[in-house]
């Protein structure tokens, strides 16, 4: 008399918590997920192809639009790739300042993650608290680059302009208030019974699976793998500064939450040290107005807030722009973890897992 059916539920591309235009085809048995298929490409703009018809400097604008909540990291990765192929040495002041800015970018990206992740699980207040602090950081970006979201920061060989005078005070203010604010978020979430119930043992992925899937960043470190590009192959000033890698063994959403919070604390340490140790001198080495790179191929990766962000650049030695630019976006690779993490859980957990993977569709679709 009664029969049960698997229902197919279409989640997205317009859905409050798929963070942009991710579409999930869910197969549900009641509320339990038996199948899941992410559908991507709704935000495809052909960034890699576009770069081929742009000059090296113009293509920098395109990198802003990859992971648009952490465009500073994208800029840095791209500029470093150019510098690696061009073989140019960057002044120390520029290195320190780039480190500082990138860490502020990481903070703003993690704050956005915390805000949306908490909102997805239903904690509305954290969302507004985190946005308040993110606003503070975006103001700093505006001071330096003129842009808040799309920064187009840094140039081949250093920085575009010297560091603005008022910036130091602003950063010092931020360093003063931020630990207290972080404690506020923790008070609302870390030991909250409901938060722990919703995140512990949800979206579990073992270290082995995480490595096999190519996951990186906080998602990988939440599974207990000690890998951070900033430690493994230090770039800019990371090798000279004193900071710890955040690792947790939980393998679940809660562990990744702890990893990201710890990263925020470490980022603040890096920002403070970079500000204190900011060297005097040139902010940019002499570089040609119209950039031409020698013939060759290069891969370079950095630790973006989402994970390992790599650029593969081919120059034919003749043009003034990339012959081919391939982006290894951490969000795209991390999204592969969604299915193994979500199957067997419930609809409410999918939302938590998308949040913990911290994907930005601008980077997934490119």
């Amino acid at each position: 008399m009664f029969k049960s059916e698997i229902i197919e539920l279409n989640m997205g591309p317009q859905h409050p918590s798929t963070h942009g235009v991710l579409r999930l085809k869910l197969k549900l048995d009641g509320e339990t997920i038996v199948g899941l298929e992410p559908e991507i490409g709704y935000l495809h703009r052909g960034v890699e192809k576009l770069a081929e018809s742009f000059t090296y400097l113009q293509a920098l604008n395109l990198t802003d639009r990859l992971d648009y909540v952490a465009s500073i990291s994208n800029n840095l990765g791209y500029i470093e790739t150019l510098e690696k192929l061009g073989g140019i040495e960057v002044p120390r002041k520029a290195k320190y300042f780039r480190t500082l800015m990138t860490e502020l970018g990481r903070l703003s990206s993690h704050l956005l993650w915390l805000a949306t992740h908490a909102l997805d699980i239903g904690a509305m207040t954290v969302f507004l608290y985190a946005f308040r602090e993110r606003e503070f950081i975006l103001d700093m970006f505006e001071m330096v680059t003129g842009g808040r979201l799309l920064t187009t920061a840094f140039r081949y060989g250093g920085l575009k302009d010297d560091i603005p005078k008022e910036l130091e005070q602003k950063i010092r203010d931020f360093i003063k208030i931020f630990p207290g604010r972080l404690a506020d978020y923790e008070a609302l979430l870390t030991k909250n019974r409901i938060w722990m119930k919703r995140t512990k043992q949800v979206g579990v992925i073992s270290a082995e699976d995480a490595i096999n899937l190519g996951l990186s960043g906080p998602v990988l470190r939440g599974s207990g793998v000690r890998f951070d590009v900033r430690k493994a192959e230090p770039y800019e000033a990371y090798g000279e500064l004193d900071w710890e890698m955040a690792v947790e063994d939980g393998c679940d959403t809660y562990a990744r939450y702890l990893v990201r919070l710890e990263e925020m604390r470490q980022s603040l340490r890096i920002v403070e040290q970079a500000l204190d140790g900011m060297p005097e001198g040139e902010f940019r080495t002499k570089a040609p107005k119209v950039l031409k790179l020698p013939k060759g191929e290069v891969y370079h990766c950095i630790e973006a807030p989402k994970g390992e962000l790599g650029y593969y650049l081919i120059s034919d030695g003749k043009g003034t722009g990339p012959y081919r630019l391939k982006v290894r976006g951490p969000s795209f690779v991390n999204l592969q973890g969604l299915k193994p993490m979500a199957v067997g859980h419930m609809v409410a957990d999918v939302v938590a897992i998308i949040g913990t993977l911290d994907v930005v569709l601008g980077e997934v679709d490119r």
Binding site: S17, G122, A123, L128, R132, I194, K197, M346, V347
Partner: protein
Amino acid sequence: MDFTMINIVIPTVKILIVFTVVLLSVLVMTYAERKVIAFMQVRLGPMRVGPWGLLQPIADALKLFSKEDIIPTMADKWVYYLAPTLAIVPALLTFLVVPFGDQTTFFGLLKHPTSMAISDLNIGLLYILAISSVGIYGILLGGWSSNSKYPLLGALRSAAQIVSYEVPLTLAIIGPILMANTLSMKGIVEAQSKGMWFVIPQFFAFLIYTACAVAETNRAPYDLPEAEQELVAGFHTEYSGMKFAFFYLAEYANMIVVSAIATVVFLGGWLPVPGLAFLHIPAIIWFALKMGFFLFIFLWLRATYPRYRYDQLMAIGWKFFIPVALINIFVTALLVL
């Protein structure tokens, strides 16, 4: 003359007053919710319409009136129309037995003192519990008739949630009923006027009642049926305009009902706070203050807690609240005997 006065005029006037006040307080409640939560989240809340945004609820109501009424093509039209009505009517009917104060002559306006409830049924509490259970049909049918998957999931969650939380809610109220030895709302308050408020001897029952009341009214952290981040808007995803407004109204009316029950059963109804009786504050103000406090807890919880998951919610209801409520009944029964 006296007959018509007592049996027709006074009840009609009372009904009109109570329903007007309830609907107005829903408006105030929506405004208060936005403001209170805004202040907890270090922002201002509505500020544009009127001074400090005071006219915002009216603007919202006008907007909902003028919205297009959309009915999905494949919806079951009759049920789709019926559902909002089924949600709102029981929510309003429960106010029939809520005593807002003691007997009064309204400052000498009436010859005989009349009670501040529309009707003082001797099984008032039972009546409320029975009527409020009907409300879930509105939600269930609304989700079902939309013929859409998100509302369906929302309705399923809602039905399961309300059915399972109705049980501990009722069990929690049995403690005070045993102590008061009556089911009449008025009788329960009068029983508290002799001793202490039932919130003290029945503290566990009060906590369980609070938690279950939040779940009953689909409010955070038990707002799974309309979890925006998971189910878009839950059971009323497909509703718009006045039909949506009815669901909205029902939710807030239900919040006011459960607060009224909590006030009557646990917080001493219209009785003044012990020690403050000399202030001569009218009974109805005391009642409103206590209800306001309980409603504030709703908002406070919403601003603080994340949301439970469906299975966790069920587990707490059946494995924790019901056993504790049962133990509470046994202990109370032993002591009362």
